[in-house]
């Protein structure tokens, strides 16, 4: 814990007793940084302050400080202090840069960024699409549109979080690069495919990661080239403007199989996407190597269809195939591809970006639908599985930890009470589970909301961020656009930011008197905490 006091000429040291010290100082700002949790530093130009030392007896460290609460921006409540340190980012529209490298709604974005800056937002998340930058030919990068955006962000004085997206997006109509799509037409096996032969053309199959399908290069090599080009083109921004890089790990940037190929059929738990040529041959090889060649002929035959209830057929039901030996065989294989894909992308990225001092991130999905079923089928079709009911996320989190990668978890705005009871869904418990898994392996978690507006979102987000235990120090709000700036929503957002920042207009009576509060620093157990007495 680090407490620094800004600009106070009147600091005086009053009383020094065994374990009590009375300090007259004001909290101009309180910075609690995660790295240095046990350091107390006072900075002041006051000369008599030089003599200050805080003695900590192991039994009780108590430091009483008189805080004149004249500072309007901070209130000394334990929660708000953590909250105030959460960095808030806002995502730019997905179509910020059009697929011909123009910056869309430039004026709106500029005005919007200024508004956000004034509001106290820390930075901006910019989705950067592979299909825009490397549109025409392999290795031919055009960053101009994104550079222009970065420059605006820099001028406005915001931070930038770049999301390198190796997927396409139906909504603004940005696909994979043209040359990749052409390859995909000739060689359909590069895309995820379901058992009906339908292809998911917004993302390459995990099975081709190391297969030289892209003009003699593997997707991972292409990915490395992309990262390196990004690093060199944006080198001037690294570390100062760009303070984070997110690697797209799959469909919509999330680490998962596109188990719901099309968003419309959300009613079911999704289907397994293991029917492309490369997947099938991998499955076949795996089956043969484990001595069950017959299991390698295809995916589970008794899995429900997209629009069927998960428990309507035998695969996901209690005691169903998923719990059988076959189920374990298939699901282990299916999920291992996901895990190794994450590992490949993150290692490529962490070596490409090594030494620039910008943290890397990857995003997980929040597969909360049907998670009250024992099989948790949404997780299974998306590729999260672990035998014998162990933590399904452990392997993934391990990969993140290994690559010192931060984890972005969306859906921080979702609350159980607003889920329809039929979906048997509990976003809150899944989120809590994920946070715990990350904490165990010291993976830092960043938050995001789900992109669709939900009731009670802001309250829920604040609740989630308040949780000092989870240590979420960065939250990205998705996403800027017409709805975001609509009067109702923007007002709510402003209130939300102020709740985070405690940026409140002081009421008159607060302004009139200088309140005295006592702040205890430290506690008997030695665990650092700050609380108001």
């Amino acid at each position: 814990m680090e407490v620094s006091v800004i600009g106070n000429p009147q600091t005086r040291l009053c009383r020094a007793e065994l374990a009590y010290r009375e300090l007259g100082f004001r909290f101009g700002s309180v910075v609690i940084s995660g790295e240095s949790r046990n350091k107390v530093t006072f900075l002041s130009q006051s000369s008599n302050f030089k003599d200050l030392s805080i003695r900590c007896s192991s039994r009780s460290v108590k430091c009483e400080a008189v805080v004149s609460d004249g500072v309007p921006f901070l209130k000394s409540t334990p929660n708000s202090r953590w909250l105030a340190s959460v960095k808030l980012f806002v995502g730019l529209p997905l179509d910020t840069v059009s697929d011909c490298n123009n910056v869309n709604h430039l004026k709106a974005i500029t005005a919007g960024l200024k508004a956000l800056k004034l509001l106290g937002v820390e930075g901006i998340e910019l989705p950067i699409f592979w299909g825009v930058v490397e549109k025409e030919a392999s290795g031919k990068y055009d960053w101009s549109g994104y550079l222009a955006v970065a420059e605006i962000v820099k001028k406005v004085g915001l931070k930038l979080h770049a999301s390198l997206s190796f997927h396409g997006s139906k909504n603004p109509g940005i696909g994979l690069p043209d040359w990749v799509e052409k390859i995909g037409e000739a060689e359909p096996g590069v895309y995820f495919t379901d058992r009906y032969g339908q292809q998911y053309k917004e993302c390459l199959s995990f099975a081709v990661d190391d297969v030289p399908v892209l003009d003699g290069k593997t997707p991972m090599e292409v990915c490395r080239g992309f990262c390196e080009s990004f690093k060199s083109v944006f080198s001037d921004y690294m570390g100062n403007t760009i303070t984070g890089i997110t690697l797209g790990l799959g469909p919509d940037g999330e680490l998962r199989y596109p188990s719901h190929q099309h968003d419309v059929k959300r009613s079911g738990a999704g289907e397994f996407q293991c029917y492309d040529k490369h997947m099938l041959s991998a499955l076949k090889g795996y089956a043969e190597s484990t001595g069950n060649p017959l299991w390698g002929l295809g995916g589970p035959h008794d899995a429900p269809a997209y629009d069927q209830q998960p428990h309507s057929s035998s695969f996901f039901s209690d005691g169903g195939s998923w719990e059988s030996q076959y189920g374990d065989f298939f699901l282990s294989w299916y999920s291992s591809l996901l895990t190794s894909h994450a590992d490949r992308v993150l290692s490529v990225a962490s070596s490409a970006f090594s030494g620039i001092g910008v943290p890397l991130c990857g995003k997980l999905p929040l597969l909360h639908q049907w998670n009250k079923l024992r099989s948790q089928p949404s997780e299974l079709t998306a590729g999260f599985y672990s035998p014998n009911g162990q933590d399904r996320y452990e392997a993934i989190v391990e990969i993140f930890a290994k690559n010192s990668c931060r984890m972005i978890i969306p859906g921080m705005d979702l609350s159980d009470e607003h889920q329809s009871p039929e979906s048997l869904s509990s976003p809150e418990s899944l989120l809590a589970h994920l946070k715990t898994s990350c904490k165990k392996q010291r993976v830092v978690v960043s938050g995001q909301n789900s992109s669709a507006p939900v009731p009670g979102a802001f309250e829920r987000i604040v609740e989630n961020l308040k949780d000092e235990n989870a240590g979420i120090d960065l939250f990205t709000y998705q996403r800027m656009g017409a709805l975001f700036f609509s009067p109702e929503h923007f007002h709510a957002f402003t209130v939300f930011v102020r709740n985070l920042r405690q940026f409140e207009l002081t009421s008159d009576d607060q302004a009139a008197e200088v309140e005295t509060k006592t702040v205890n620093i430290g506690s008997g157990s030695g665990a650092p905490s700050l609380q108001t007495a």
């Binding site: 900075l43 030089k50 004034l118 975001f484 109702e488 402003t494 302004a511």
Partner: protein, 900 residues
């Protein structure tokens, strides 16, 4: 780090100019010190003088590299890169800094009796400056804080009048160095008190007394608001002289002399006593200095040599650290350190700069490891004075890579100058506010008296945020042509019970526009209209729209001048009130026509431009938007389009909005208006309208958002979504607190009827193509008004086809408005039948419309399953199903059925 920000005052004045509510109440609010412009030219030279030269040679630099570089006088932070020596200079920058010096002194006020009824009041100040006494008087019987101009004989020579309520008199320099002005008081006049504030023209600062005007009472019963001077009861209380942006000084008041006045003055003045009071003041003077920093790479040691030079007087200590690993955290470099360096709390190093031999400043050299990324520092002048650069630490980057050495940070800094380009200066403004918040946060903790400022600044910021967000919103909206269809918006409103809201009234309203372009001519329109009250009620109208009631430069009322003067060409205020009463009696609500976009001025400014207002709302040019060059407004940019014939009001100003809200509430109460028809709402942001509606709580409100439909080669486009989107956006900006005239529907009816293109009346989704198809409850449908028709005829409805228009709007959802001229015409009985049908069948603004036919020559629809209608020459019969349709109204090319 603890630093005293050096630009706080500047930020302050900048903002306050926009924000200070300058109300009509003639009492002066404090203004902050208005120091010279931010980037005062720095003539400082980037010179490495010889003493530095020798020092650096010792550190291994080739002396041939020193070239004195002269930065020409420029308004920006100068970044000079001279080709001849740039090979090892990696950073060069001249930072302008401002040092605030404080001069302390006193203001004194002396009241002296010369003869019986001749008294003299002297106001003086001991600090040099261009002092102006800004003063006025209160007369016996005045209430409130307003000032009046003093009688002529009281004005000292050299005074000049400010508008009609104040006098400015410069203070003259006395031989002993003080500045003073003396006002002769003639107590035979009925002056009750003298009010003043002191202004320093040099800085633009206003000095007040305890946050209010100084007030010297000359009679006994002047109400004491805590700002009296010399009054007996005030003696104990008079304490501090506040000039808000200044640091508060602890002070007491000395009453030096006090003597009984002669007893033979008038009774009220019995208590008048001579007095002398002093109040300490301090004034801040900014000195411009500069800090030049040059960093160069020493080729032999591969160290970076940074030279810091400044013309700041006195001892200057550099408080510094170095940066590693891309962060701007301060870290302590390894030794050796320059001379006179000490370690400060393991956090920073302190190095005292060496005085230059010629006494013009100090300099210092820092030799740092070439691998470091940069040097951060702030300057310390004395224990309490720290200088940083625009709220940030000074930062000298050393780029380790050989590419583009003088770029990045230096370039970034220079970009911050306000004159480079607009984009950047705007972001500079952002930074400024941010810095200000920070500075205030620091400052406020010392000076609680400044809290008002913080609040104000915060409000300002919030406003700025709102404005930017609104801008972003409107652009995003227009580039994202999606609109959540009515079904969602209306679903909650579909409930059967009647809910009154200002956007819809009861939902069953039918409007009558109660005037035309000629109505003012008789001079007794209100009286003429009164006579028609019962007839209009029996026709089935529920709301009447009256013409604009205020004094106006044009007789029709749309060029308002004094908003509180409700005597117009339509009649007097009493006739108006009487008319409203009469209509209320017959159950008709009355709308006032509120012209909020623009207002005609009473006075010219010094350039002869009409932009100063009089009357009860005596706004000045800050109430006028800044982007209409004709009116030289000093407000903000307009939040909408400009109406070019009169000064457009700047609704972003707090005081304007407050006054308008007051005015609307006053009209509601005084006249009895139930709601508003809002003129030319394209001129300002709909969010402000929401604000006004929230404040005045109208029963019904409708805005005129009239812009052009889209045409291609003279032919109207089929798809008018962009047009209706703009109107819907406006309604949305008001949060639905007001409806809007459905100009889209009128336009499409024009094309459909005129050219027999009835297919236009269904949009691609089979809904009405106007606003009424998207947001029926907020659409006020009409076919003609005083502008489009009447004797102006700017956009007249196809002649002879008006009844088709009425057959459409009076059967369809939305709130229909019928034009006065049409009611009292040959169409009278047909309109009456349609009105009675609408009321009989309880059609309302959210009725459901099913378009049955939209072909070349006929359009037909069924509304709420109980009314069927067709317009156009083509044939249509409602479907024979379970319903039994009977013809209700029939006329030329239209037919309406109702089910029985």
């Amino acid at each position: 780090m603890s630093t005293v920000p050096i630009e706080f005052l500047l930020h302050h004045s900048h903002l306050r100019h926009n924000s200070r509510s300058y109300r009509g109440t003639r009492s002066f609010l404090p203004c902050s010190l208005n120091l010279r412009s931010r980037f005062t030219s720095s003539n400082k030279l980037l010179v490495l003088n010889s003493s530095i030269g020798s020092a650096t040679s010792a550190l291994g630099l080739r002396s041939s590299k020193y070239v004195a570089i002269r930065a020409s006088s420029s308004d920006t932070a100068v970044v000079e890169t001279s080709q001849s020596e740039s090979d090892d200079v990696i950073f060069k920058e001249n930072f302008p800094v401002q040092r605030i010096e404080k001069a302390e002194g006193k203001i004194y006020v002396r009241l002296k009796q010369v003869k019986e009824n001749d008294w003299e009041l002297s106001v003086g100040c001991s600090i040099p400056g261009k002092w102006i006494l800004h003063w006025g008087v209160s007369y016996v019987g005045d209430t409130g804080s307003e000032w009046d101009q003093p009688p002529e004989d009281m004005r000292p020579p050299g005074s000049f009048a400010i508008k009609d309520y104040a006098i400015e008199t410069p203070l003259e320099k006395l031989s002993e160095g003080d500045f003073e002005v003396t006002i002769k008081l003639n107590l035979e006049s009925s002056v009750a008190a003298l009010n003043f504030v002191l202004k320093d023209e040099e800085t633009g600062a206003w000095y007040q007394h305890k946050g209010r005007d100084f007030k010297v009472p000359l009679v006994d019963d002047v109400p004491d608001n805590g700002n009296l001077i010399g009054a007996k009861k005030g003696f104990g209380a008079i304490g501090q002289l506040s000039n808000i942006p200044l640091k508060q000084e602890k002070s007491g008041v000395e009453v030096e002399k006090e003597s009984k006045s002669s007893s033979d003055s008038t009774i009220e003045r019995k208590g008048l006593q001579e007095f002398y009071e002093e109040m300490p003041i301090s004034k801040r003077v900014a000195d411009d200095n500069s800090v030049s920093v040059t960093a160069r790479k020493c080729p032999e040691t591969s160290n970076n040599i940074v030279s810091v030079e400044t013309d700041l007087p006195g001892d200057v200590t550099v408080h510094w650290g170095v940066c590693k690993n891309g962060s701007k955290r301060w870290e302590i470099p390894s030794e050796p350190y320059p001379e006179e360096t000490s370690l400060f709390k393991n956090k920073a190093l302190r190095t005292r700069l060496q005085r230059k031999d010629d006494g013009t400043g100090s300099f210092g050299l820092f030799s740092l490891d070439g691998k470091l990324e940069g040097l951060c520092f702030v300057l310390k002048l004395n224990e309490n004075t720290w200088l940083n650069y625009r709220g940030e630490d000074f930062y000298v980057p050393f780029l380790t890579s050989s590419s583009s050495p003088v770029e990045t940070e230096a370039a970034q800094v220079s970009e911050h100058t306000p004159k480079t380009d607009k984009e950047v200066s705007a972001s500079g403004f952002t930074d400024e506010i941010i810095t200000e918040i920070r500075n205030l946060a620091i400052d406020i903790s010392h000076h609680k008296n400044q809290k008002t400022n913080v609040k104000e600044v915060q409000e300002n910021i919030l406003q700025e945020i709102e404005k930017l967000a609104a801008e972003a919103y409107s652009i995003f909206r227009s580039t994202t042509p999606t609109f959540t269809e009515e079904s969602i918006l209306e679903s909650e409103a579909e409930k059967p019970e009647i809910k009154i809201s200002s956007g819809t009234g009861s939902g069953f309203e039918i409007l009558c526009q109660g005037f035309n372009w000629e109505s003012h001519k008789s001079g007794r329109w209100y009286l003429e209209l009164q006579e028609k009250a019962s007839e209009l009620a029996s026709l089935g109208f529920t709301v009447l729209w009256l013409p604009p009631p205020t004094e106006s430069v044009s007789p029709e009322g749309y060029m308002p001048k004094d908003l509180y003067n409700l005597n117009s060409r339509y009649g007097t205020i009493d006739e108006l009130k009487d008319t409203v009463r009469k209509f209320h009696k017959v159950g008709i609500k009355v709308l006032g026509d509120a012209v909020l976009n623009h207002r005609c001025a009473h006075f010219k400014n010094q350039n002869g431009v009409w932009n100063l207002f009089g009357g009860r709302l005596n706004w000045d040019d800050r109430a006028v938007v800044a982007d209409d060059p004709h009116f030289q407004g000093r407000g903000n940019k307009s939040s909408g389009d400009n109406f070019h014939a009169a000064p457009n009001i700047d609704h972003s100003q707090d005081f304007v909005r407050k006054d308008i809200k007051e005015w609307l509430c006053w009209m509601r109460e005084e006249v009895g208006y139930d709601g508003w028809r809002l003129d030319f709402v394209r001129g300002f942001w709909g969010g402000y309208v929401k604000d006004y509606m929230d404040a005045s709580k109208p029963y019904f409100a409708v805005g005129e958002y009239w812009d052009s439909l889209s045409y291609t080669y003279g032919e109207m486009d089929y798809n008018q979504d962009a047009h209706r989107q703009r109107i819907v956006d406006w309604i949305n900006a008001t949060s639905g607190a007001a409806g809007a005239f459905d100009v889209t529907t009128k336009g499409i009816l024009h094309a459909a009827l005129q050219k027999c293109e009835y297919w236009r009346l269904s949009d691609p989704k089979g809904k009405p193509p106007g606003v009424v198809g998207w947001w029926p409850s907020r659409a006020v449908t009409f076919i003609e008004n005083h502008d489009t028709g009447s004797t102006q005829g700017h956009w007249r409805f196809p002649e002879g086809k008006e009844m088709q228009g009425y057959a459409y709007i009076l059967t369809h959802p939305g709130t229909p408005a019928v034009f006065f001229d049409h009611i009292f015409s040959d169409y009278h009985s047909e309109i009456a039948s349609l009105l009675s049908l609408r009321n009989r069948q309880k059609l309302h603004c959210r009725s459901e419309v099913n378009i049955d036919k939209s072909e070349r020559d006929v359009y037909a629809a069924i509304i709420d399953d109980k009314v069927a209608m067709k317009i156009g020459p083509g044939h249509y019969e409602p479907p024979n199903g379970s319903k039994n349709w009977s013809v209700a109204v029939e006329g030329r090319d239209y037919k309406v059925w109702e089910s029985s």
